[in-house]
């Protein structure tokens, strides 16, 4: 398959692994930001091709994983409201809140729909004028443009039954939060290729310069990830801290200006709580007041307020440490015992981009096994 097979080529991958081995002369710890990259690393066993001195740490780039438990509870509560049809990407349905997950709500009679595109949800709103269509808008910068487009379309179509429960988060503030932590041990980043496809990578220059860390915008296929690591290792060994682009077939310096413009039209940065990590200033998106009628947190303010303060996360779940790269999934005491995909304590065990899910699915439950 074009654009896939050449990036899973064994000969090319082996040569890149050899180049990394030749480059690395001392210990380095680097983080792949995106959960898609984490899954590629674990699924294809890329870490087993790397020199021992190079440690890969899995980052917070799983939007499902970082969605706070309070927002998941809000989604479940709205789904249970009479007349509401709750639309979500499939990934979100298994993530546990304090009162169960959206699959549980669906089984109990709530109308929960999996959508493949935000525009599908707009169509559902058109086709069901007597229902309230609430969309659980989850994601990083990558999925913000289509949700913004859906709101613009809904307004243009004069739809009065369409709203978003927004859980969107932004990557650069999370990287800064990790780098400014006293416990930080990350010396370089593989930045998330698809986020940069939308946003470009100019905003990463300030981070690279401020924290003296090299950042390589990297794709998701095995050859992409290995090439990104090779570029990162080259910078680290040479003492450079620059922003480079490995994913040139998708990412430009400026990114997609049109997509950025529509995001800016509908959303604005806001303080956002990250599950297991805490609140980070300007790390999320919220709907601007000019589109307030499409904001489910405004539209259903009274309903959501009636439930009182947000629930606390399960203290046994150490996903916050996993998401900051401070704990390997299989080193969590609950991994594979108290926490499994069937009975998860936290989102990283069930999201298709979650680090715990990747280890459980591709490595099994033998703790400490590489």
């Amino acid at each position: 398959m074009k654009y896939v097979d050449e990036f899973r080529d064994r000969t090319v991958a082996t040569a890149l692994a050899e180049r990394i081995k030749q480059t690395v002369t001392r210990p380095w710890t680097v983080m792949e930001v995106c959960g898609g990259q984490t899954h590629s690393i674990v699924r294809f066993g890329l870490d087993s091709l790397l020199p021992k001195d190079l440690t890969l740490v899995h980052g917070p780039g799983c939007p499902v994983c970082v969605t706070p438990i309070g927002l998941i509870d809000d989604a479940v509560r709205l789904a249970r409201q009479p007349g509401v049809m709750l639309c979500s990407f499939g990934d979100m349905l298994r993530v546990p809140g304090s009162q169960g997950d959206l699959f549980g709500a669906k089984a109990a009679g709530a109308d929960v729909r999996i959508v493949y595109s935000p525009m599908d949800a707009v169509e559902l709103a058109r086709a069901n004028p007597d229902r309230e269509i609430v969309c659980f808008a989850v994601g990083f910068e990558t999925t913000a443009p289509p949700w913004a487009m859906a709101v613009v379309q809904a307004k243009a179509s004069k739809l009065t039954n369409f709203s978003l429960l927004v859980a969107h988060v932004l990557v650069p503030p999370a990287m800064e939060a990790i780098l400014s932590s006293p416990q930080n041990r990350i010396q370089g980043f593989l930045a998330a290729g698809h986020v940069c496809t939308v946003m470009g990578y100019e905003e990463y220059n300030a981070i690279a310069q401020k924290y003296l860390v090299p950042i390589v915008v990297t794709g998701f296929e095995p050859v992409d990830v290995l090439e990104g690591i090779a570029m990162l290792a080259g910078q680290l060994e040479a003492g450079r801290a620059e922003v480079e682009n490995q994913y040139i077939r998708s990412v430009s310096r400026q990114g997609n200006r049109q997509a950025q413009a529509i995001v800016d039209e509908v959303f604005e940065p806001a303080l956002r709580a990250w599950r297991g990590i805490g609140a980070i200033p300007r790390s999320g998106l919220q709907i601007r007041s000019t589109y307030a009628e499409f904001d489910a947190s405004v539209r259903f303010r009274d309903v959501l307020a009636s439930y009182g303060p947000a629930a606390q996360e399960d203290p046994e779940c150490q996903s916050g440490l996993v998401l900051q790269g401070l704990l390997k999934p299989m080193d969590c005491p609950a991994f594979g015992s108290k926490c499994t995909p069937e009975r998860p304590l936290g989102a990283p065990m069930v999201s298709s981009e979650g680090a715990c899910a990747a280890y459980y699915r591709y490595r099994g439950t033998v703790r400490g096994k590489a």
Binding site: M1, R43, F44, L46, S48, H194, P222, Y360, R361, Y362
Partner: protein
């Protein structure tokens, strides 16, 4: 000779014997007799399952006309036939699929192929099927006719007869158009033994063709995924290729048809049952380009996607090439491939060698595969 009675409700009476008629709002009310709506209605009515004249018309006009055969003709409570000495195989499966019609098949042909394939995996020659229908009130009779005709056509093509059946009608909103259950009886030739416990370390692991087409075909029409538009379901009967394999002298240790859960689930089940390990070469597993493309876009793994006309077989290494040659003679298994080898027992039992030459486990899936966010 021994006569056996196949004890399933025939397509006949019995459906309104209690006089308990479901009402429109789903509550049950007791009425002295079945209502008899006009028989010129073009949709399924509750009375079509009510035991009265309308039901008899439905049975005669649709089911008997399509399925007619000597064992069904007596219209008794069950079908009977003489049997010789030997081993019978008996299986059942229920079919629910949305939409009812999809590229390469429909719920009717699926209900015939699926049960035939379960019999074939036992090494049996399929003989007779039963067909139980749960119809939703309001279903178009034209749709029912198409499904029943498709079943009849699939059964005839496979050389099996549908000899008994049953119909029930549920309130509108309580079904999904049509649910079908088929059970099947087949004859296992003497001396044939096929079972997971016969799988031996060293056996070659073969698949009969490309994987994932059925799941992607159904998903593409259900969700309107135009990018996967030309993928057709692999739904097909497998008993002929299996019969040919057995006739060619290949020592089939075990087979399994790859349905829900795909190849990965079948291998895990078999390896666990046989107390062996399995090693699979990812690059040897055949998957059509459009299926791979759709799976890549949606974040699905074709090794877990459903098939309805594919099977995996474990045969002695020395007979692997013979078995592949036999399989490739049949259109349904023309893309048969050797994908791995049975090893000694280890946990987890199934290991995949990736396209890069690294290794990972191929585990049972936890729940359904869900499309990813980005």
């Amino acid at each position: 000779m021994l006569h056996i009675l196949f004890v399933l409700y025939a397509i006949s009476h019995k459906h309104c014997s209690s006089g308990e008629i479901p009402t429109m709002n789903g509550n049950k009310s007791f009425e002295p007799s079945c209502p008899l709506p006009s028989s010129d209605k073009k949709t399924v009515q509750l009375a079509h399952g009510g035991g009265g004249r309308l039901m008899q018309e439905l049975i005669q006009d649709i089911f008997v006309r399509a399925f007619h055969n000597p064992l069904l003709a007596p219209m008794h409570d069950g079908a009977t036939w003489p049997v010789e000495k030997g081993t019978l195989a008996f299986t059942t499966d229920s079919y629910v699929v949305r939409p009812l019609f999809f590229p390469g098949g429909d719920i009717g042909s699926l209900a015939v192929h699926g049960t035939i394939n379960d019999l074939a995996m036992c090494g049996a020659k399929p003989l007779y099927l039963s067909a139980g229908f749960i119809l939703e009130e309001g279903l178009s009779l034209d749709v029912l006719q198409q499904v029943v005709n498709s079943m009849a056509k699939a059964a005839q093509a496979a050389g099996v007869s549908i000899v008994t059946g049953d119909t029930k009608v549920v309130d509108r909103g309580k079904g999904d158009g049509i649910f079908i259950n088929t059970a099947g009886v087949g004859l296992v030739p003497s001396g044939v033994r096929i079972a997971p416990t016969l799988i031996q370390p060293g056996d070659a692991i073969l698949v009969s063709g490309d994987l994932g087409s059925h799941g992607v075909a159904v998903l593409s029409v259900r969700e309107g995924l135009t990018f996967a538009g030309n993928v057709e379901s692999d739904s097909a009967p497998l008993h002929e290729v299996v019969g040919d394999l057995m006739g060619s002298g290949v020592d089939l240790h075990c087979m399994r048809d790859l349905t829900r859960g795909g190849l990965a689930s079948a291998l895990n089940e078999l390896a666990t049952a046989a107390k062996v390990g399995m090693s699979i070469d990812e690059s040897a597993v055949p998957v059509l380009e459009p299926v791979r493309g759709a799976c890549e876009l949606l974040g699905l793994d074709p090794l877990y996607v459903a098939n309805e006309g594919r099977f995996v077989a474990m045969v002695p290494e020395s007979q692997a090439e013979t078995a592949l040659a036999v399989m490739r003679r049949h259109a349904v298994s023309s893309k048969a491939a050797r994908i791995g080898v049975v090893t000694g027992r280890h946990a987890p039992p199934v290991i995949l060698q990736t396209v890069l030459g690294t290794h990972r486990i191929l585990d049972l899936l936890s729940g359904e595969q869900l499309p990813r966010i980005c």
